[in-house]
């Protein structure tokens, strides 16, 4: 296969089997498959973006890692005495939860800009649009790997013992990436049309950091505010990644909620993409 061109007969417009939803759906799925196959674009571009963002710096992407490390250490010290919990218990919890939060929240925040930011490329090339959400998820996954060193550092210092539950980290990460793709796709489309959405999302994200059990433990909210835990989908996503990092098993409820939301996001994402894929270009 040679890049973006193909040798098959390609028809677009009215000669297609009439514009039924089934037809739109098939072309949306084709578009996503073509996007996934362009691995060189969605691997090379994020690398390139990260490298140019930290050009001429000595520490490169580890700058973000270091500032995060300092942030986690400070919050860890203060909050552990504030909640009166053991720091050797609280710091690994905070470190793992916070790097996961940064992964998820940055995917959501940057996702709103995914098409707007690449407008020039969208207008001037025939790259399938599905490539851009993949780029967003892959870039944040790469940054997550850098931030992971903060967790490793903390885990070694406080000798966090991995358990069988730790193996579930990988399927959990896959679920986060799949959901991330669909969420970015939908947010990217909606934000291209309604330019208030990126601002709205970034203010919501800030509030969610304070409402989701990351800087404090879930149990301290149970009772009066248990709604914020049980029905907070972000909490469940964080929990299925965090529990393995602490050598524990996440609750079955978390896995069920996450699986259900992943399926929901895929169905919703596919529907939105099928309906509005060809309109995105007009909104940029």
């Amino acid at each position: 296969m040679d890049g973006l061109s193909g040798t098959r007969v390609k028809i677009m417009g009215e000669f297609e089997p009439k514009e039924t939803f089934k037809y739109q759906l098939t072309s949306a799925i084709e578009d996503i498959i073509r996007g996934l196959r362009l691995w060189w674009l969605w691997y090379y571009l994020p690398v390139s973006e990260i490298q140019s963002r930290y050009r001429r710096t000595f520490l490169g992407p580890f700058w973000a890692t270091i500032s995060m490390g300092v942030f986690i250490a400070m919050i860890g010290l203060i909050y552990s005495s504030l909640w009166q919990v053991d720091i050797s218990h609280f710091l690994p919890y905070l470190a793992s939860g916070y790097i996961i939060w940064i992964l998820i929240s940055t995917i959501i925040n940057e996702g709103t800009m995914t098409f707007i930011q690449h407008e020039h490329i969208v207008r001037n090339t025939v790259v399938p649009f599905s490539v851009f959400p993949i780029i967003c998820v892959v870039r944040n996954l790469m940054l997550f790997l850098h931030h992971f060193t903060v967790y490793l550092f903390v885990a070694v210092i406080f000798s966090v013992a991995p358990g069988w539950g730790s193996l579930l980290f990988f399927p959990a990460l896959v679920l986060v990436c799949i959901t991330g793709f669909w969420v970015v796709l939908v947010l990217g489309i909606v934000s291209a049309r309604f330019r208030d959405i990126p601002h709205f999302i970034s203010s919501i994200i800030l509030i969610l950091l304070l409402l989701t059990p990351i800087l404090f433990e879930a149990d301290s909210l149970r009772g009066k505010f248990s709604l914020l835990v049980d029905w907070n989908i972000l909490y469940h996503y964080i929990e299925i990644l965090r529990a393995p990092l602490l050598g524990k098993f996440a609750s079955a409820l978390s896995w069920i909620m996450v699986s259900a939301f992943t399926i929901f996001s895929a169905l919703a994402g596919l529907t939105v993409y099928a309906k509005y894929r060809t309109s995105i270009i007009f909104w940029l």
Partner: protein, 251 residues
């Protein structure tokens, strides 16, 4: 049998104007915009292409001629599949390469070598095709050790070479090209001519939009005149250019 063609049948393209107010001063804008502005229930939209048909077979090199905003680039983008026609259809067969910006994806913070990679991927090369061509591309750029320095310090002419070298390394059956491929400074242009001739000679059919009549005359054997998104005339390059000039002098 080699079958390379691209065909457009009665394509109409309405581009919605998303944030235009309802009270848009239609008449005023009609003076400047290419198409006709419609204001209906589904919002304001510009008719950028109005019932355009075009059929290219082997050996056809079509020049798109018209004023700014007459729909040349829009037609190219529709043929490429970037815009989906509101009604009508585009059918194509063969390896299409669309070059609307020969340096798309250029990142000035990165080296020439890294940018060659990005540009090549965006213009439709795969890693294996790039591996095959990369040495030739770098040789042709004649940038010496600059190839491993950031593009930020390049002169404009040097930057253009990157896109030029990558674009001319492609070998499409069908080429959709906007404003030709610039070659930069004169000394380089001399060497560039030969490479361009080789590049164009391999192409089975081509659609070129440009304001440079010399370029259109030297590369094309047919021409389509567009006015306000409508195809007004199709014929030989010289005839169509003549008609284009006549309509200019009438205004």
């Amino acid at each position: 049998m080699s079958m390379n063609y691209i065909e457009a049948n009665n394509i109409v393209l309405d581009i919605p104007v998303v944030d235009a107010a309802r009270s848009i001063r239609t008449s005023l804008i009609n003076q400047f915009a290419g198409g006709i502005i419609k204001n209906n229930k589904s919002g304001v939209s510009v008719r950028a292409l109005d019932d355009v048909s075009l059929s290219l077979g082997k050996g056809d090199r079509v020049a798109l001629i018209g004023h700014n905003g007459s729909g040349k680039t829009t037609l190219l983008r529709t043929l490429a599949g970037i815009y989906k026609p509101t009604t009508g259809a585009v059918t194509s067969h063969g390896r299409i390469i669309s070059i609307f910006d020969p340096s798309v994806g250029l990142n000035v913070e990165r080296t020439g070598r890294a940018n060659i990679k990005t540009i090549a991927y965006f213009l439709g090369m795969s890693p294996s095709a790039l591996a095959e061509h990369i040495d030739g591309i770098i040789d042709f750029c004649e940038l010496g050790e600059f190839i491993d320095l950031p593009v930020r310090i390049y002169s404009a002419g040097m930057t253009v070479r990157l896109g030029f070298a990558v674009a001319t390394a492609l070998n499409p059956d069908i080429l959709l090209l906007d404003e030709g491929i610039g070659a930069g400074d004169a000394k380089f242009a001399e060497r560039a001519r030969e490479r361009l001739e080789n590049f164009y000679s391999g192409i089975k059919c081509m659609v070129l939009a440009s304001h440079s009549e010399d370029l259109l005359r030297s590369l094309c054997n047919k021409a389509l005149l567009l006015e306000h998104g409508k195809a007004v005339m199709f014929g030989g390059v010289d005839e169509v250019l003549q008609r284009y000039h006549e309509s200019n002098s009438q205004q």
